[in-house]
Symmetry: D2
Subunit: 334 residues, 4 copies
């Protein structure tokens, strides 16, 4: 039986608490928040759980095995470090840390203490993303040409981070999971409309060494909600529309091949347009699967797919995007 302590009971914390409660071999033992109303809600939903206002009552508790850190990103490092130093495995809300340095130190600390880190890249555990991963791994799409994601809506403006740190971790973590090749450079453009020095619209391009490009359209100011990713390959193309209820993934047996490229005037473009196919995807709540998986990784001493290194890779891209954004689209090598 692993005892879980949860630090942070704001918007996402209750989901962590509820889903950890449902995992076999796990007990949600303690919840910490420094806001009284959050603790009242926590007590009502989980009457038998210990309630604290100081996170150290969790990170330093003898009876806690795993600390879930569900607080703003600026606090992750301190909390995570304290937990790891005191021998706790950690489950950390995305993005992993506020910068690459912090992520690197936490990974080292966990390694030294033989502890597990999981970053809450929830999307990796959705039926849709698992299906995409399977398609790509089975080379159903052939060589990948592009990954183009749009995540826009009339959004919850974050107080402390820009739209990149808020929205991009979802898509970057999916891209990082689906595409084995690692990116080599990033450019980002964007704008802050409200004088906060926090962009609320951003566009990111990610370069790879191979014949592949990725792009992310992030916008907190869109009148319509769009959650769409196109993945184009040599053999097939895929559309992931996360707002669809039943047909989240559509695979198009479409493509183009260009012959006789030695001369543009002899160029012969051949189209192929075949069937479309929407495979059934699993609808199990991703967070539930993710937490059960992390517990399983701890018990069996396996490395999670969403480990600290995965978290670090995302933070590295976020940091590079920020740097490029400040320099109006300057290419930042990774």
């Amino acid at each position: 039986m692993l005892n879980i302590g949860i630090v942070g009971y704001g918007y996402w914390g209750p989901n962590i608490a509820r889903n950890f409660s449902a995992v076999e071999g796990v007990k949600v033992a303690a919840i910490c928040d420094n806001r009284q109303d959050a603790l009242t809600r926590a007590k009502k939903a989980h009457p038998n759980v210990d309630i604290f206002t100081d996170y150290r009552d969790i990170t330093r508790s003898n009876s806690i095995d795993v600390v879930a850190i569900v607080t703003p990103v600026s606090t992750h490092f301190q909390l995570a470090k304290d937990a790891l130093k005191n021998g706790k495995h950690i489950f950390v809300e995305k993005p992993f840390t506020a910068n690459v340095m912090e992520a690197t130190k936490l990974i080292e600390l966990a390694d030294k203490n033989s502890l597990k880190i999981a970053v809450d890249h929830t999307f990796l555990f959705t039926g849709a993303v698992k299906k995409i991963k399977e398609m790509v791994d089975d080379r159903k799409l052939g060589e990948l040409y592009y990954y183009d994601s749009t995540r826009v809506n009339l959004g919850l403006f974050q107080h402390d981070v820009n739209v990149i740190w808020d929205l991009a971790p979802h898509d970057l973590s999916v891209m990082d999971y689906v595409i084995k090749e690692k990116p080599i450079a990033i450019t980002a453009t964007g704008i802050d409309h409200f004088g906060r020095n926090l962009a609320n619209i951003a566009y990111i391009t990610v370069y790879f060494k191979s014949n592949l490009i990725a792009h992310f359209n992030l916008n907190w100011l869109s009148p319509v909600k769009i959650r769409m990713t196109l993945i184009g390959g040599e053999k097939r193309m895929l559309v992931w529309n996360d707002l669809e209820t039943d047909e989240k993934i559509k695979i198009y047996d479409k493509g183009v091949s260009v012959k006789n490229t030695e001369s543009v005037y002899n160029l012969l473009v051949e189209y192929r347009s075949g069937d479309m196919w929407a495979p059934r995807v699993d609808h199990t709540e991703a967070l539930k699967l993710e937490l059960a998986y992390f517990i399983d990784c701890i018990n069996k001493n396996k490395n999670p797919i969403n480990d600290g290194k995965a978290g670090l890779r995302i933070v590295e891209m976020l940091e590079a995007s920020d740097a490029s954004l400040r320099a109006k689209g300057k290419l930042i090598k990774l």
Copy 2:
């Protein structure tokens, strides 16, 4: 009665011929193409029109008043120059010219000879764009925040130009028409998948001096066709989905206002979410309206909205995009 000569009878030429034929006070008098099958088609559709294989039979003819140039962009300058030198008004397919230099020279030549230039920015004459222009001019959207366009499909690869020169003129000309403020800088990223040195996917960001940003997603390799532009303003937001039959324009009475920005911790974000409204738009064929309008401009000695200078502004942005694309997103001042 104005006599029209059409140079180029490939994909778009027949539409120009058919629509000019329907304009009052105009006669399609001559068609030129250097491909025999094109001339056969022209003769069949327009039995009373003179047919030529040498464009100079049109540009230098005494009986021709207006030359429509519907050929690849690389040939525009030579054809247009010859027509203008011989006292013809010109209607030129978009993009206007292959570079800024050519466009500038043609504008000067036309001015010197008191001739009119119209560039085929057809979209300006659609009911949808006219409605958008009206909305923006009437300040229905308030101060503009962003212009975000997606134009992707499994596309006709062009032999001689990249995806920017093929697809972006549509959207850039609409942006140029709708937004009075002129852009100050551009970045573009993209990729060529087929070793042709002609990008088939590109992403363009356009900067303005004011609190406004524009972005263009252009892709010849998408399994799905998307023609969508979001325009966000302080007061309202607009979605233009050109694939919708009846509701091409949707105006959302939505917005966000941020108070107390002196401190991010006191930040108060206020959402507003009201009605949506899809105004009826005119469905008259845009090309027909555009050609009749150009004839009217010639007859009344008015300057067309899609004149050589408008054409030049688009070419300037295309040229800058190309330069940025080659330099992996380097900021190019306009």
Copy 3:
């Protein structure tokens, strides 16, 4: 403070319990079910509520003021009668009763004892239906021409009722609420595919004295989920798509007028096609509003819009539909 007793804690009962708990001046005091697992769930969610297996512990309890009956329709009459006889107001799941006779008796009993009945016609309390009602009442649609509803999906087959009794109460209650005029006759067709003598597909036509017709397409065997109602009027037309998140109601400024009808050969049909408008609708949970409204009706001795008579009118249409269905579409007068 009114004490609520809930009989039935299956699929819908928990929603009733949760929403009643949130109403001011109300206490969920007792829950009854004859299945042990239901009671376990009830106890967990509502630790302070009394739990019973015999409904009479609620209907005859001195401390209960209102009985919510959330059981299969075949049991409604007995439970409701017992509750009313013992001086309780009743909130009854839809459809109100299994036949007209039962409904009539319950209404009489409630009247005699000065008690309130509310039937759970939840849709009347949605933002969408309230907006439709407002439109119709304000004569925004003009004279009504038709009401055409489609409610199909791969459905939960009910064990005890056919698709009419399961799905039609939703739409019939909305129609009954929105349209003041009462129907005069009904025909229904349909089919049972599984030898249960319970139709799983049915089509109902409802006749009115005026120039109005209603139709309902009900299907438990559809691969796609559709929840769409078209309401056509002389002046405007309305589409209610309940699966839309943000634009559930669309009002079309469209119509047709036919002139010179004395001779079909001189017939002049005039179309009108104007703007479309999607008014913002309230998203508050309908059940919460409905329960608070019922409590308010009890406290202020007002008659609910979803009273026993409303319930009776729906049951009358259901009964007539069944009769017509059995007689292969025979017209049944109401």
Copy 4:
């Protein structure tokens, strides 16, 4: 070489003329209409065709082999009879005739004179319907459960026929083609809003001997255009949305099976929800294929699938629908 004479050059006639012109081994030799403007249009589009105002100049001409009858249905019988009597094959606009009697006589006459009849059931020649037919014939859907069609829009009111005779022939001919089993009875309900005694909204139910039902929702007064047919089978279900550009047909690997039907309380409903698949369908213009096919049938003395008997079957259902509609849904045996 077969010479074609076309009687009627209103809305549809030009399409017949244009497509017959493109068929190998065929010459459009004569066009007849009694309206001068129609003849002017005909002459302009087909300069070498003979133009007549009296149909007998076509039906009795020695040089005509096939007469295409593209006139209002009330005139079909007289024109067709005259053509058949004079040894011409006939291609007749749908619906075949104004009643069963006429259809029967024409079939007899054609048989006696060894002539071919084709009725313009264009939809049978679309890629979508051919794909549906193939699916059903290959038993991909299993035993058929229902055929449910919706064909509504803000429609062109016909002067001489009601909405059933205008819209239903499309869907009835598809159903007749796709489903081998013949219907046994029909009910129809509907309404005329404009005092013309011509229903502008109608709902038709078609009964079969087997476990199958069909329904048709026809409406000239809908603010939105819907062209959707659901076909449910034991093994799979199909949605045909004719307004989709690329994915007209979607096949759902979904179903339901009900076990232990001896007792409703032991009833076990098993759902199955699998992949969705949108097969590519041919986009060739259906009318072109239909006309070429008819010429091939004539040349090879084959019976067309859309022969007079197919036309008769549709007319029989239209007549029965009218009879039922007049009798407010009375069941009419076929």
